[in-house]
């Protein structure tokens, strides 16, 4: 969307800082965080250590991309200082603590040889990591939702959308992992993955629907996604590749098709990333000049 310099805050103005250049790396970080948290939680539920490990890697990746989007990454330690008011501060703490707790948990698991009777210490760290995993998955939704200047973002459904997206991504990765490792509860995971994909799609459209009732600027943002210049990304990548095709796979492919399921998971992840990115791209500020 090409806003001329003289239209800045005179017409609806796109949020640029996190959708262009180095700043847009935050979309990757949010995506990785969401999937990391979602994957860890679902892995916890199904006691799938590989899933937990992959989630932990994703979290490291998130940390890396978060640092990359900063212009002063060596000062990043300061981000821990405002959890009282800043969602990024809180999220930073969640990520650090998650990586720490999950790391220790995985280490214990490795050292104890992944027994059926889980070591109590490991249980403790699983719980701690699980709590922070939830934080990691949901906090970026609050980061975006906090911005009351962008009506498209400023609703209670934003954190829900982000955490649901994360869990959906996580579930898809878990499904592929389960197929690879021949996990016993594959069919349950499969059911969960199917459910999440559908629920995720519903939440996306609920969010868009709410946006059309949140003022003309939010409505235009929604329009941008559905029939405007982001429609390509929305319909092809987020919906078709990110949901529809994976749904078909998840309904047809079984535990014996790990490759297809891996492909499906990759597509879900791509759609997930595209979702974060296009939500950031579609966000617009209400003009300061009256119409």
């Amino acid at each position: 969307m090409d806003v001329k310099p003289y239209e800045f805050m005179v017409k609806e103005t796109p949020a640029r800082e996190w959708s262009e250049g180095m700043g847009s790396l935050i979309a990757v970080a949010m995506f990785l965080g969401g999937v990391s948290g979602g994957l860890y939680l679902t892995s916890l539920y199904f006691n799938n250590v590989w899933g937990m490990f992959i989630a932990w890697i994703f979290a490291l990746g998130m940390g890396l991309f978060d640092m990359a989007h900063l212009s002063k990454p060596f000062r990043a330690w300061r981000i821990a200082f405002r959890p009282g008011s800043s969602w990024i501060s809180r999220g930073f703490i969640f990520v650090i603590l998650f990586i720490g707790a999950a790391g220790i948990q995985l280490l214990i698991n490795l050292m104890t040889g992944n027994p059926a009777d889980i070591n109590p210490a490991e249980i403790f760290f699983r719980v701690v990591a699980g709590i922070f995993a939830f934080g990691v998955a949901i906090y970026s939704g609050f980061v975006v939702g906090f911005v009351n200047g962008v009506k498209f973002w400023n609703s209670g459904i934003m954190p829900i959308l982000f955490v649901v997206a994360g869990v959906t991504g996580g579930a898809s990765v878990l499904l592929a992992t389960a197929a690879y490792t021949s996990a016993g509860d594959f069919s349950t995971i499969q059911a969960m993955a199917r459910f999440m994909l559908v629920f995720y799609t519903i939440v996306i459209f609920v969010h868009l629907w709410i946006a059309t009732y949140s003022g003309p600027v939010a409505r235009d943002s929604a329009r941008m996604l559905v029939k405007g210049n982001l429609a390509g990304i929305f319909w092809v990548i987020i919906i078709l590749i990110g949901v529809v095709v994976p749904l078909i796979f998840v309904f047809t492919a079984g535990a014996d098709s790990p490759i297809i399921l891996m492909l499906s998971a990759a597509m879900v992840l791509l759609g997930n990333l595209a979702l974060r990115y296009s939500i950031l791209r579609a966000g617009m500020y209400t003009p300061l000049v009256p119409e």
Partner: protein, 903 residues
């Protein structure tokens, strides 16, 4: 260390922290400023707070941006010689650096030769860009007058202001232009004028006072095809077609005189030629003995000379017979004549609804409060809190003279001229500095007809009216004495006339300062043809421009206003001094930093040239006369070469400030002049420290109209007088003008633009001033360029939104404007609600292509490319240019006017 008055981070080493007072060079308003110099570098510019000559501490963006012009790495720093013999719009001059001595030696040689053969072979001129204005009279004006050339060409022939404005303001206010008395005015009508919001005279005091007027609730009605500057601050914006302002004004005059019967009888009787008796030949009835115009005394029932002390009353209506000749007072003729200008006809020409015209006329008449008075400083003055003003836009058409005088008529009939609340000319009456009585300018009545005559040099007399002559110089102004700035010889029809006159001589050399003759003049193609033919062109410039690069043979590096001394802030108080009860101020311009590299003050360069050609003595004598003319007794009035009632100035009347043989510096001259005007204590040192000398203005200076026994012509008898002689002289030159406009009755004539618009070329295109820009150099200043790009209109072409939609055009499209002669200009479209549907507009004078101005390159559009330059497109009476042109608009695939530009 605590540093006040500037934002500082940390603890930097500050070795120098001074504020120097001087005048701004952002435009030719020359507001008083203070400039902050830290460690030898200029860091900030602000308005001078305790000074009425400006915005009392405020300053517009152009002034702040001067810092970047001063330090622009693209500036000319050394004399340059063109080594590429080819000249043209896009030609690379292939500059070679030369020494000052080499440059001046060659220039002096050529000047000497020309002066011996025929000084008219030198064409000189320029425009006050980059604040060069103050050097116009003192530098080039004097140099040319003494050298003996009559070929003086202002870039664009008043294209950027208006010969109608200057002629009219000279005629009615002994001034350069007019402004409402913002302090007391309640009802302002602006017709094609951006006073207070933009204007080349961005003029701090205008911005300040107009804002005060708006804040206290004055009603401001703006007639303008676009709602941008003046329109944007109007209480009521009324769109109209370009060139139709005159008939709107005349229909309002009609309503006041013939429907509402509201007019200031006293003013008409005593301050205009309304009572002068007009005979069947359209001329004054004159007393046989004295040759002075006659009036009718209705009390004693006889005709008398207009200034006869025995007059009991003046008749302004009726028909009389004097010595068998049927006659009427001029006012009767005017009153009858305007009856034809009905609001309905005005609506037809302008698209302003007749009901609106009637309403505005009624509101104006009521607001005028004819007959009321106000007490200021214990003295009673007539109070007429209405003002109608016009500048470039309203009169920039082939009906210029009549449009402007029609608007002046609206002021005159209610007596709202140079009285509290009314229309004020820039100061025409300066009582003099109280301690010395000098620096005095007093208007006076001309000796024959009692008409208002300026008490100082002015381009725009015309009293006494010169005899029309067959032109002997290339400006051809002798042909029409009412002409202000002439487009000749830079036109497409000049050769026709010069051939008919036998081509008495050719221009061999041109000396131009500060101007961009190519971009700020009408039609660069016609202009280029002219300049190409001149064998040797010398320019004095600060920054590179299209004229220097394409056509100059030698470029001399001038000083920026922040590097230079300058005596006057302008040509004189009538040019830009604060109006109304704002205080008097005589500011100094002084260098805040020394000129870097080999830049030199152009006036001192001219003096060195004068030394080399043996002209310095004459110049010194001329300066003595010039300065003495402000010394209390008007020695010179009218144009630079004229004198009051005498062909020669009596040298005994001039004070010798400079001895003939002296070769002083500019600063030295300033010191002497300051002391002469203001006393021995107020020398250069005083001015350097204090920045200016200020003194209180007396009410009778601000509102002088009823303190000087002068009249103004509501009936332009002088035009009837000169007409036959003009026609005869014109025949000899082969000149055909629109003779019907040579009528003494102020009338409406369809402007050339209205005649050229047709179904294919269906839009009236025009340009207008933008507050961010002055001339063509401001786009090179990065700060101004940045904010221009942040403005929706400055660099774009604007059209009414509906019109654009109908043509299938939308915001952001690259469009082309093409004139009937195939001239093209392109730019980015921005649609507006606030624009007349039949128009398309371009702000400022952008569209730069000079290689040496990289910031300005390609930004915005150069409107002037579309215009024509010839007598068909000039007002026949004042020679103002037609500034609007008929165009068709379509989508473009590239910027056509940049084809051929080297990048």
């Amino acid at each position: 260390m605590v540093v006040t008055g500037m934002s500082v981070k940390g603890n930097p080493e500050i070795k120098e922290d001074v504020w120097i007072r001087t005048t701004c060079g952002g435009c030719y308003g020359t507001c008083a400023i203070r400039v902050h110099r830290v460690n030898g570098v200029i860091v900030k510019i602000e308005g001078e707070p305790d000074n009425d000559f400006g915005a009392r501490g405020g300053l517009c963006a152009k002034g702040e941006a001067m810092i970047q012009a001063l330090y622009d790495p693209n500036r000319y720093n050394y004399p340059l010689r063109r080594t590429n013999p080819e000249k043209g719009l896009f030609v690379d001059p292939k500059w070679k650096r030369i020494s000052w001595d080499e440059a001046l030696t060659e220039i002096a040689e050529r000047l000497k030769k020309i002066r011996k053969e025929n000084p008219n072979k030198l064409l000189h001129g320029g425009t006050p860009s980059a604040g060069s204005g103050p050097d116009l009279p003192l530098g080039f004006g004097v140099f040319g007058a003494v050298f003996g050339t009559k070929n003086w060409y202002i870039g664009g022939a008043g294209l950027h202001c208006g010969s109608g404005s200057h002629m009219g303001a000279g005629l009615y206010h002994a001034s350069w232009s007019i402004v409402p008395d913002w302090k007391y005015c309640n009802y302002v009508i602006q017709m094609g004028s951006n006073k207070g919001t933009a204007s080349g005279h961005s003029m701090g005091f205008n911005m300040r006072l107009a804002a005060d007027a708006r804040a206290r609730g004055a009603k401001i009605v703006v007639f303008d095809p676009i709602c941008n500057f003046a329109g944007g601050k109007a209480t009521e914006w009324i769109p109209l077609l370009p060139g139709s302002d005159g008939i709107v004004a005349l229909s309002m005059v009609n309503i006041l005189l013939n429907e509402l019967n509201v007019y200031d009888v006293e003013f008409i009787k005593k301050k205009t030629n309304g009572p002068y008796l007009i005979g069947p030949d359209q001329l004054y009835l004159r007393d046989k003995a004295t040759g002075k115009p006659l009036i009718w005394d209705p009390v004693e029932n006889k005709a008398k000379v207009f200034n006869d002390p025995s007059i009991k009353d003046f008749a302004i209506l009726g028909n009389y017979t004097v010595n068998g000749v049927k006659c009427s007072p001029a006012f009767q003729l005017v009153k009858d004549h305007v009856k034809q200008y009905t609001p309905e006809w005005a609506e037809q020409e302008s698209t302003v609804p007749a009901a609106t015209i009637r309403r505005i006329a009624r509101e104006y008449a009521e607001a005028a409060q004819v007959g009321t008075t106000i007490e200021i400083e214990g003295e009673k003055f007539p109070l007429r809190p209405v003002a109608c003003i016009m500048f470039r836009g309203g009169q920039g058409h082939t009906n210029s003279a009549h449009s402007y005088t029609a608007m002046c008529l609206l002021n005159a009939i209610v007596g709202a001229m140079d009285v509290p609340g009314g229309t004020l000319g820039w100061p025409a009456y300066v009582g003099g500095y109280p301690e010395t009585g000098r620096f005095k300018v007093i208007p006076y009545p001309d000796s024959r007809d009692g008409m208002l005559t300026a008490g100082t040099f002015m381009e725009h007399g015309p009293w006494p009216v010169h005899e029309p002559k067959v032109p002997s110089d290339m400006t051809m102004k002798e042909l029409v004495p009412t002409a202000s700035f002439s487009p000749q010889p830079v036109t497409s029809d000049f050769d026709k006339y010069w051939n008919k006159l036998g081509r008495p001589y050719e221009i061999e050399m041109a000396m131009i300062f500060g101007a961009n003759m190519i971009r700020s003049s009408q039609s660069r193609e016609i202009t280029a043809e002219f300049w190409k033919k001149i064998p040797f062109i010398v320019t004095f410039n600060i920054l590179p421009n299209e004229f220097c690069e394409g056509f100059a043979d030698i470029v001399l590096p001038d000083c920026h206003p922040l590097e230079a001394y300058c005596l006057f802030s302008s040509h004189g108080p009538f040019f830009n001094h604060p109006i109304g009860m704002e205080g008097w101020c005589f500011p100094i311009r002084q260098p805040v930093v020394q000129p870097a590299y080999e830049r030199r003050n152009k006036v001192e360069v001219l003096w060195e040239l004068a030394d080399r050609i043996g002209m310095r003595e004459e110049m010194n004598r001329y300066y003595n006369v010039y300065f003495s003319s402000f010394g209390g007794e008007p020695l010179i009035s009218g144009d630079i070469n004229s004198a009051r009632g005498a062909a020669q100035i009596d040298p005994s009347k001039a004070v010798t400030l400079i001895k003939p043989e002296e070769k002083i510096t500019y600063a030295e001259m300033m010191d002497r002049v300051f002391k002469y005007y203001f006393g021995p204590n107020h020398d250069l040192k005083y001015f350097s420290e204090n920045g200016s000398l200020q003194w209180k203005k007396k009410a009778k200076e601000a509102y002088w109209r009823w303190h000087v026994d002068v009249r103004i012509p509501i009936y332009l008898e002088h035009i009837a007088e000169i007409k036959p002689k003009v026609m005869e002289a014109a025949k000899q030159a082969g000149v055909e003008l629109q003779w019907e406009q040579f009528t003494p009755l102020i009338s409406y004539f369809k402007p050339q633009i209205a005649k050229e618009v047709n179904d294919e070329y269906d839009l009236y295109s025009f340009s207008y001033r933008d507050i961010l820009h002055n001339g063509t150099y401001t786009m090179e200043m990065p700060w101004l360029d940045e904010v221009s790009r942040m403005n929706p209109y400055t660099y774009n072409i604007t059209m009414n939104a509906e019109t654009a939609k109908k043509k299938g055009l939308k915001d952001g499209d690259l469009i082309c404007l093409e004139s009937r002669r195939g001239r093209k200009v392109t730019g980015t479209l921005k649609t507006m609600q606030g624009q007349h549907p039949k128009t398309v507009a371009i702000a400022a004078c952008s569209g730069a292509w000079a290689k040496g101005a990289p910031i300005a390159f390609g930004k915005g559009s150069n409107y002037n490319i579309l215009l024509e330059s010839d007598f068909d497109h000039a007002c026949p009476v004042c020679w103002s240019q037609e500034t609007a042109t008929a165009v068709k608009v379509y989508k473009a695939d590239r910027r056509y006017e940049y084809d051929g530009v080297r990048r």
